[in-house]
């Protein structure tokens, strides 16, 4: 998925759109002929870049639908993986595994992400070096490759201090660490967008800082925070690499549980099916991609709708 969760909203797409719009506007306003050639060239370059990005996405979508459409049936959701009967095999255990892992991720990132964001925005004294250090680190962590989090999860969660083994909860914790910086950054942005006059108004009425945050700032920031959480979760759903390291296996026929036994998730299962030589598994993988795309697009659309809806309400 070409969704970059580093910023709320697909940042790459936004950048491309903004660049194209600015260029167009500049080209329309300019009257002279000299710079116009340059403008035209630059615009063409930008359109080319956008075209490449869209072409990649389109190719993926077309391939998935052409390959996977015949396999989109109920078996996909009710059957587990099978080597003997690939024509009726499905993603049941993988979908359930994803639900378990993502449920754990949500349970972890909501309190931790929002708490950290509230601390950094409302309480941290920015003149202190340690607060600036934390901020810098959160920003840097958002750019760390996911496989590094997988290694971290393997060393500290599966083995090491926590030692909970190769279970779904380990996957949840690892993915939570992975998306936490994104959620913190988005939640901070949402909290910062609440006008200071609202805080002043509440404090001037004798509310304590916590009452101000709890009763005024947070309710006003919730749509933005939710957007960040949804985008973070959308990224977590699509991750396969770190999960491979913390124990997601590719062939699980029993339904998973949080703290016992092996688990698998949708992207890991797709990875497995796609790697098999038989054509029938490739179709299965394509059908899985469609399921994931639908889930991801639905989540992203919901996040965007939520943001727009509440933005209108607040202004």
């Amino acid at each position: 998925m070409a969704v970059d969760p580093g910023l709320p909203g697909a940042a790459r797409t936004q950048l491309a759109v903004a660049g194209a719009r600015a260029t167009t506007a500049a080209a329309l306003n300019r009257k002279g002929s000299g710079p116009r050639v340059q403008e035209g060239l630059f615009l063409a370059l930008l359109l080319l870049a956008v075209g490449f990005a869209l072409a990649g996405l389109a190719a993926l979508l077309v391939w998935s639908f052409v390959e996977g459409l015949p396999r989109l049936d109920a078996n996909l959701f009710t059957q587990g993986p099978s080597s003997l009967h690939p024509e009726t095999a499905g993603f049941r255990t993988a979908i359930l595994g994803s639900v378990y892992v993502i449920g754990g991720v949500i349970a972890l990132i909501v309190p931790l992400g929002v708490g950290a964001a509230i601390y950094l925005e409302e309480y941290a004294d920015k003149t202190r070096w340690w607060n600036r250090f934390i901020e810098l680190n959160v920003q840097n962590l958002a750019g760390v490759p996911s496989i590094v989090y997988g290694i971290l999860g393997l060393a500290f969660i599966v083995r090491g201090p926590l030692d909970i083994g190769f279970v779904a909860a380990a996957g949840s914790m690892t993915l939570a660490l992975l998306v936490l910086p994104t959620v913190i950054l988005a939640a901070r942005e949402a909290i910062r967008a609440v006008p200071p006059s609202i805080r002043e108004g509440a404090l001037a009425l004798g509310a304590t800082q916590w009452q101000t945050v709890r009763r005024q700032v947070l309710p006003a920031a919730i749509p933005g925070i939710l957007t960040g959480i949804i985008l973070g979760v959308a990224r977590a759903i699509g991750e396969a690499a770190p999960l491979l390291l913390v124990g997601a296996v590719t062939f699980v026929t029993v339904n998973p549980s949080l703290f016992e036994g092996r688990f698998t998730t949708l992207p890991v299962q797709i990875f497995n099916y796609a790697g098999r030589p038989q054509e029938v598994f490739h179709e299965l993988a394509a059908a899985g991609v469609i399921v994931m795309l639908v889930v991801l697009l639905a989540m992203n659309s919901f996040a965007i709708w939520l943001r727009n809806h509440y933005e209108k309400k607040l202004s």
């Binding site: 004294d125 006008p195 002043e200 108004g201 004798g206 509310a207 005024q216």
Partner: protein
């Protein structure tokens, strides 16, 4: 608790004024008991018609932001049940001084207050004074109307709710809205979002919101600067009504407004300090009539007659 009996005369006759509960709650907190509340007792309140006493006793107050002085050597008293206007050119420290009076300046990093601010005889910056409690006694209305993005009802009820005021919330809301001269405008749409009101109504809502916690003083920081003349007139009428009950300090850029509503006026100006900083200070403090008709200082005269400024 002594202050209960002291506060009563200023609340409307009704069985349980919310101020009681707010202050009894404060009494439960031993720090607050030793702090400002115990000394806030306005004993003079029952002496009507006599010489009015000082609510604020400002003595040699200076404020600096990160070491840079913004205003200094301010000395005057703010009297009870009067409207005191702070006027002067931009950057002269009027708003800065106003924000010292309910310790809103505490929220600005690097802000330091020197000198003495007395509130009913108690040092407002004393070591045992809780700034949160101070703000329940000294309300504030801001330059730009800042209603909460909630219903009209919830805007008014916020203060009593966070202070844990017991009693009929509907009644408290209605009383605050009536005192804020807003009840007739909004009684049928209390559940509507406050953002749907006009600017003038929003500002009156902010005043009513502040009245709901039964403060002793209301500080107003250019409350009409974002409003049209009709809304401004309504707020000025409201201020004249409110001063029967509350003491009001208003910062304004509008000299006609100061002349119309205030009893006392402090004129601030900007001077260059030895270190070439622009520092505000008070040039003249007197009855409004005298400041506007027969000022003692030529700088005041130049400003109020519109020659400079």
């Amino acid at each position: 608790m002594t202050q209960e009996t002291e506060i009563t005369p200023m609340t409307e006759p009704q069985p349980e004024p919310p101020a009681h509960d707010a202050l009894s709650e404060a009494a439960a907190d031993p720090a607050a008991q030793r702090g400002v509340e115990t000394h806030v007792v306005p004993e003079h309140r029952e002496r009507k018609g006599g010489k009015t006493d000082a609510v604020f006793h400002i003595d040699g107050v200076g404020v600096s932001y990160s070491g840079k002085p913004a205003v200094r050597d301010v000395t005057f008293d703010i009297a009870e049940n009067e409207i005191t206007a702070l006027i002067g050119p931009s950057g002269c420290g009027k708003s800065t001084l106003l924000r010292c009076l309910n310790r809103m300046n505490d929220l600005i990093p690097g802000c330091e207050v020197s000198g003495h601010v007395g509130f009913h005889g108690e040092d407002l910056y004393g070591p045992r004074v809780d700034p949160v409690r101070v703000r329940t006694l000294i309300g504030m209305v801001f330059q730009k109307p800042n209603p909460f993005p909630k219903s009209i009802y919830d805007n008014i009820a916020f203060g009593p709710r966070v202070l844990g005021v017991k009693g009929d919330l509907d009644e408290i809301v209605e009383r605050a809205l009536r005192r804020g001269a807003l009840w007739d405008d909004v009684k049928d749409r209390l559940k509507d979002n406050a953002y749907g009101m006009s600017g003038g109504q929003q500002q009156r809502l902010c005043i009513a919101r502040c009245l709901a916690i039964e403060p002793d003083v209301i500080l107003m920081d250019e409350p009409c600067s974002a409003l049209d003349p009709i809304s401004t007139g309504k707020i000025e009428d409201l201020m004249l009504e409110l001063k029967e009950r509350y003491s009001i300090v208003i910062v304004t850029h509008n000299m006609q407004q100061a002349a119309r509503v205030s009893d006392k006026t402090a004129f601030f100006t900007v001077e260059l300090s030895e270190e070439e900083h622009r520092v505000g200070r008070v040039v003249e403090f007197d009855d409004t009539e005298k400041v506007f008709t027969n000022p003692a200082d030529p700088r005041t005269e130049a400003y109020v007659t519109g020659k400079v400024g």
